[in-house]
Symmetry: C2
Subunit: 562 residues, 2 copies
């Protein structure tokens, strides 16, 4: 779980030097001087390349180790059982596809994207992150959906309401949040500030009666174990509810036209209704707030190249529910915001029913005290926060680590079946005071990643370095081990894919990550919405580097059920 | 009538120096060394500004003459009768609109354009004219529809099928086309080449049994006479069938949201179905051709920043009728094209049912012999040409001038009512051998424009210069007078408008031009389609220069019926 978020950034295209720079989707967590953020736990990091900041690169199975790895034998061994036949395999013979057909499809896909608003701002064009309608470029996308086992898709859908409920329960346990994050607080200024706000709210004895969550749980299929492993749940600013639907539509449109040639049926792409379901949830929350003159406020970054994704959601909100959304930065909210004595939040004189965050998850989103004041102001108000500070904290990686500990889920959930469902998809995650795991990692370092708790990237330890570092820590016997955690190393399936970026179609080896959107809305005891909403598939180029770590940046994708 | 065509071009934005250059829609007729083109007759020209090449600027009433002008008393006096209450007046008090509301509307409009494919290629971005999906910017648009009298709109719709029929009849009279253009042929290499192709086709005794016309008749409301005057009919490459529909949708969407504040009703924007009607006509022509394996071929410029307009039409053709369109340049057709003995046109091995031109109307479209060979090849084939060489020639300005002569329409049309309808909307147009008109023009030069027959721009004569030049020609008594024509000077209504270009909303004084799309399809004696299809409104900034001529570039607009 964590505050990592997808966004679009800009990278020099490797293809030629004179074409405009292309957009890459990646999780943003810019290192900053005052940044200390939430620990990144589930994702393997590598050093950021010159202009590519990311915390979400995936490990690539190194050729030498691939055939020898066997399932971990440890506390989590049950997760490692191979599910025969469930792994994603390419359903398309990519080598057999006619080059001319690919070019035709890519051209049609580019046209489709342009006509249907599958676009982002192009960072190489001035104002493209501020002014809509200028400097647009198609969102990067995979030309074809990624093959994905239907049973895994169903499981991920089934578990979504359980995650929703879990987040809600955890959010209500203020002491659990404060206690679990107390060590993080000491080393991470950002989490510390979030906790301060949380404390103030606790002191106010303020209850969030109406609670709205628009989450996205991210998963990867592990080739070793054939399991769908949960990477994290995003409880703040889950991106691409709009564009993900469009990519599904794009792929459906392409398969209607070319499916026969490819032996693919457009009906195998699952329906993706995230944008409408999220709009529905926002509208229903707005209705619960019960002030017809109030608006939804989207809290945005001052510059946002992924604005069209957000605009699609607001367009659905307006068109289907006639609810108006306004867009404000944290700085603007600090400047224009006020609390009425009854708790009503006014921004620029406009009453706010729902605060929907599309920023505020990273230290860089709070460059000054103004942004922190704005966050506190909203938190103190009666407006429905999506998410509240409690939901935000419940989604941090540190909390996910706590929840992965034995018998912790049982504290929040009664239903044993639900608990089993969640545990089945958790990836392995251990602290270094677990001597059995440390022993195992020294024996089989290729199955683990040693990660610093603290966010920042570039400091993950792989392969033999895991062994050496663990042995060193054992020798030294000091407190340094508390700075690390051990993670199960995920080996996603690598497949050849056609990736379209900046108007150019490349064939490359890539791995995919599934995001499952879910919405949760309750008012006191009444659960109004608790559903899976749709999905996002992101496909990333993989290339092994010296450390055996995958480098890559994502394009939007959809899935083809197998 | 003429071969002038709208396109997007690029101009440095006057607002700031560091924002990207914006797009302007104007009629393209680039002067070129071998260009001599068809005479521009109905439009008042001014010298092209540094980077603005246009032949379609409108005269702006100069303040001094405005209150004094009275209707012409001449052969066309019937056209000058004032129709009370029919002139377009602003229905919105532009001075009274809240600035904040305008900014909100402009923002929403920019978002709408981006999400709904109301886009063009941005010339300042490389590849934006070649590769779809890169370097997109919203099409320039007026923020609000232009007020337009319903009776004029109805008249223009009613006369559309008559124009369709007229073009068809004229196209069948090869001798009339050749004879009427014989003098133009001597001074205009471009027309001469078109006539050569036409002659070859005549020699072949080839009959175009299936004839498809996708036309656009352009009109302006004359403030002096309150008449809707016909400027020209485009029989080749009528642009914006796609984007014009989107602008109507945009305005409808804005009025649904803001109409109440503005006192405007979205239902007063007429339905605009051009893109579907044009797709329907192409599909029906394809059906008449009767080869299920044949495609529609869109003949395109090598670089086309207005490609999305074309893509919308092809998308409708594919989605609604499952007819595939391919895109080829004239040079590609020369390279890949062949004629089978039975007359079938193959391009790259693909049989072509319908050739739809979105290029080929200007000398610059034929930079080498290859393009002329391609044009001839297509003309010699059995493929349905939209337009055929005869339709193309029937749409030239010179032919329109001929048709405006007394008793010429009667040669082609039987129905007196139809003839009256056409004559009612023709603007005044005379050759200099009409001594009455020359006399009148010497007396009232402010009501005329003296224009060279030959295209190129910048040589129009206005005001007192008309008088002086006419007197000089009378004194000299040589043949030079044949090089000029006299035109009724049109004084379109100038209104304050909000124009949105390159993400910036400006208030400016502007004039509007109505384009009425029409489709005509017949197979031998069977008329399959003969309809008005929809409309395009283009609104241009006006500013008087020393010559009293309007400078301006157009944004897309729709109309609000009054």
């Amino acid at each position: 779980m964590g505050a990592a978020h997808s966004s679009a950034t800009c990278l020099s295209s490797p293809a030629t030097t004179n074409i405009p720079r292309c957009y890459l989707f990646h999780r943003v967590s810019k290192p900053s001087s005052n940044s200390s953020s939430i620990p990144t736990i589930y994702l393997h990091l590598q050093k950021p390349t010159s202009n590519f900041i990311s915390q979400n690169h995936y490990s690539l199975k190194s050729p030498c180790s691939s055939s020898k790895i066997v399932p971990l034998s440890c506390a989590r061994v049950r997760l490692m059982e191979t599910q025969e036949g469930s792994a994603s395999k390419p359903v398309i013979d990519f080598h057999g596809i006619d080059e001319e057909l690919i070019q035709k499809m890519a051209y049609d896909a580019l046209v489709w994207s342009s006509l249907h608003g599958l676009v982002v701002g192009d960072k190489s064009v001035q104002r493209s992150g501020k002014v809509p309608g200028v400097g647009m470029v198609h969102a990067p996308f995979a030309l074809l959906p990624v093959a994905f086992p239907e049973n895994h898709w169903k499981s991920a859908c089934e578990v979504a309401p359980v995650f929703n409920e879990l987040i809600d329960r955890v959010s209500l346990d203020g002491n659990f949040l404060q206690d679990s994050l107390s060590r993080t607080k000491k080393v991470d200024v950002f989490t510390s500030r979030l906790l301060d706000i949380h404390s103030k709210v606790l002191e106010m004895n303020k209850t969030e009666e109406i609670r709205l969550g628009l989450h996205r749980s991210d998963y990867m299929l592990d080739e070793q174990t054939k399991l769908l492993l949960h990477i994290e749940i995003n409880t703040i600013s889950s991106s691409f509810p709009g564009l993900s639907c469009l990519v599904s539509d794009l792929h459906r449109s392409l398969l209607k036209r070319y499916g026969e040639h490819l032996g693919l049926d457009s009906k195998r792409i699952p329906s993706n209704t995230t944008v409408n379901r999220f709009a529905d949830a926002l509208a229903k929350a707005w209705t619960e707030y019960n002030n017809p003159r109030a608006a939804v406020m989207v809290v945005v970054q001052p510059e946002e190249h992924n604005m069209y994704d957000q605009h699609w959601l607001c367009a659905a909100l307006k068109e289907k529910y006639n609810v108006t959304a306004i867009r404000k930065t944290l700085a603007e909210i600090d400047k224009e915001g006020e609390l009425l004595p009854d708790g009503t939040l006014l921004v620029g004189g406009q009453a706010i029913a729902v605060v929907y965050f599309r920023t505020g998850y990273a230290p860089t989103d709070y460059p000054s005290e103004a942004e922190w004041r704005a966050r506190l102001l909203m938190e103190q108000s009666l407006a429905i926060k999506c998410p509240s500070i409690s939901y935000h904290l419940a989604g941090t990686k540190k909390i996910q680590q706590e929840l992965a500990k034995p018998n912790v889920l049982e504290r929040f959930l009664e239903n044993k079946e639900d608990i089993t469902k969640l545990q089945k998809c958790f990836a392995g995650l251990w602290s270094l005071d677990d001597s059995d795991i440390v022993k195992r990692a020294i024996e089989r370092p290729e199955l683990f990643v040693m990660k610093p708790q603290r966010e920042g990237g570039g400091n993950n330890i792989y392969g033999d370095d895991v062994k050496e570092n663990l042995l060193r820590l054992q020798r030294e016997g000091n407190e340094e081990d508390a700075a690390y955690i051990l993670m199960q190393r995920i080996f996603p399936i690598v497949s050849p894919m056609f990736l379209v970026r900046n108007g150019i179609c490349h064939k490359d080896h890539a791995v995919s990550e599934l995001g499952v959107y879910s919405a949760y809305l309750r008012n006191k005891d009444k659960v109004i919405i608790n559903d899976q909403c749709g999905y996002l598939m992101r496909t990333k180029v993989s290339s092994s580097n010296e450390g055996g770590v995958a480098a890559g940046f994502a394009v939007l994708d959809s899935m083809y059920l197998t």
